[in-house]
Symmetry: C2
């Protein structure tokens, strides 16, 4: 058995970022930048007015001065001429500040009569003018490679006139459930049969984390079914199996797949839930064999598949581990790192973790309603209520 940390390292160092592909900016939300995004222009592209008012020369625009309004500069329609001595240009928010002007006096600070305005409040130099390049300049790095593109990033890239963006290709992740007892939801079941569940959760997680999940359905525990996997997973970037990692007297994944090109990296991790986790390769493709128990499978997906997908996307892995205070005691832990399902709340500014009374790994309802997993390291001594523990966040 190896430790959780060693297992995460052995999994993630296997993956290098996939090649880039170019997509439309409108499709880029949540994708990962393959290169730094560099500004191709200054923004704003010219000095622009931050307010509705009059573009003036500050040297002229003393209190009481009367200026002649020689034209208009609404947004998108710059004034073609130049502001000379004693002159002003009517300007609107987003309008280009004309040559010769060095400030914008807001409309509330003038009295307009026909073609002239009288200054009531003198503007300082640069007042209400957004300088060319205030937001960014040509050549500036706007966003870093490896960043997941947010809605605000989409706006930033659009403002820089970026219509197409290079992102890391999404990994294709095949997900296959194994087990004679499994059926799909809504299908007829034999007595003792169980509805497959974790495969749908793992596929949903893969999509949330930025991969394309390919549902390879359910296969039986027979070797013939496993023999079809190499062909079915051709072109995949990662294969995830659920179950079969340790079925009774024999380990199906290893025994059934070894003749078809499976090579093992490690098997068995010192953790609970989730000991029987397999990592290896099916021919060229990395394979993560998750346990058949649904809660164990989902916990192992969060611990090992999520960083694997971050690695293959070239995105830095954002830790979901936080400190919290226990609301109840926990007993000493043994030789496997334990992940205890808990509710989180904030009490007087402090994050608290309230472990569920029942922790059986078959309890999916408890797991669905958990906010976090309290991490109990190997050989952790008993913990008292109020003790600080590390928790792994499950929900945002």
């Amino acid at each position: 058995m190896i430790s959780v940390d060693e297992a995460v390292q052995r999994v993630t160092r296997t993956f290098a970022p996939l090649p880039a592909e170019t997509i439309a900016l409108t499709e880029a939300l949540g994708r990962v930048l393959a290169h730094d995004a560099i500004a191709p222009l200054d923004h704003p592209p010219a000095p622009m007015s931050a307010m509705d008012g009059y573009a003036v020369k500050t040297a002229d625009a003393r209190v009481g001065a009367e200026l002649t309004v020689i034209g208009e500069a609404p947004a998108g329609r710059p004034f073609a001429g130049r502001v000379g001595a004693g002159e002003a240009v009517r300007i609107f928010t987003g309008g280009v500040v004309p040559d010769g002007a060095d400030a914008v006096v807001i409309q509330e600070d003038v009295t307009a009569h026909g073609k002239t305005v009288r200054i009531k409040e003198a503007p300082p130099l640069g007042e209400n003018v957004r300088d060319r390049g205030l937001d960014f300049r040509v050549g500036d790095a706007l966003l870093e490679r490896g960043r997941r593109i947010s809605a605000r990033d989409v706006a930033l890239l659009a403002s820089a006139d970026v219509a197409r963006v290079d992102v890391t290709r999404k990994p294709r992740v095949a997900v296959v459930a194994t087990g004679d007892e499994l059926t799909r939801p809504g299908e007829p079941r034999a007595p003792g049969g169980i509805v497959a569940s974790s495969t749908y959760a793992v596929q949903a997680m893969v999509r949330e984390w930025g991969g394309d999940a390919v549902d390879l359905g359910i296969i039986s525990d027979r070797a013939e079914d496993f023999a079809r996997l190499p062909a079915a997973t051709r072109g995949m970037d990662l294969i995830i199996t659920l179950g079969g990692a340790s079925v009774g007297d024999h380990d199906l994944i290893q025994s059934a797949l070894a003749p078809h090109g499976f090579t093992l990296d490690f098997w068995k991790i010192a953790m609970r839930p989730g000991k029987p986790l397999i990592f290896g390769r099916l021919n060229a493709c990395p394979l993560i064999g998750l346990p058949g128990n649904p809660v164990s499978a989902m916990v192992c997906a969060i611990l090992f598949v999520r960083p694997a997908i971050s690695a293959v996307l070239g995105a830095p892995y954002a830790s979901l581990i936080r400190s919290a205070r226990l609301t109840a005691p926990l007993k000493a832990n043994g030789k496997r790192q334990d992940y205890i399902r808990a509710k989180l709340s904030v009490s007087e500014g402090v994050l608290t973790a309230d472990p569920f009374a029942l922790q059986d790994s078959s309890m999916q309802r408890v797991f669905a309603h958990a906010d976090a997993l309290v991490i109990r390291p190997v050989d952790a001594p008993p913990a008292a209520a109020g003790d600080e523990v590390q928790v792994l966040l499950l929900a945002g």
Copy 2:
């Protein structure tokens, strides 16, 4: 001008949840449950073994006892008979515990010889048996109406044999940018022209928040273009305009749309960035008119569109407001609630907010890199470094 809180209330109370639609469970991630999800079965459906071992009667399974193995119960293939006195059934994780057995002794605690096993460690009653209904029982409420379905929820529903799920229909949200100065990214621009940006961010946000965004493109500031909006937005659940809320001497949204069925609820909110926000109806459809300034538009979308979409989905609105400590002083605030862009970090377990030095609302790069908005209430006194403030989280 009305306060931000009043504006949020006036917006959200306009919306009632949309009708339900039935979709496949595999499509349900992120959708909102229209009804409580009730378990149609017990889970597990029968007592099941938590381990690989032997199903026994505890009355017989004393240390040193020899039991006759009368059959096998792997997962999915229950043993048809009954465990009698002096008998045991070979069982595997997920196998149904046969009638007559009341515990499972793990294989490490027996010595097997041919068709018999000798007990090395006596199991207590119920050892390694997951009772029928341990996870949930028929009729239990598994998940509450209004909940956004997570990956773990998908697994829970699948385990309850739920193949199709009733969710609130996604709202159709039309998004239209207005402004003579605007072009799409990658299109040719006239001098003084600006690339439309916030419309793409707002559409991305609408999708993230659970709506279907319908891109109505860019229209000019001419009344004829506005006149086409009622027909173009037929069947929508919400219309979002960007810009035109206060262009110089006239307000385009109100003046151009009034002849086509626009009725105003309110206009102008005491906030910065974002004062000119319109809320009303275009015929039957609610309309939110966001400011043209991109940062203002995005802040107003987060403050007003996000709760509107939660309301129309029937999902409780999860507050994104937290307490944090300032790293730098802030000056006193005036009559508009201010939203100061800041970076967040955690220092010795305390959330800290570090405001950007430049806060101009034209600065999209600052906004893209902000983690939160520090909320400065109307008439807030000066704040010192170390003071506690409320922040609105922008990123998870």
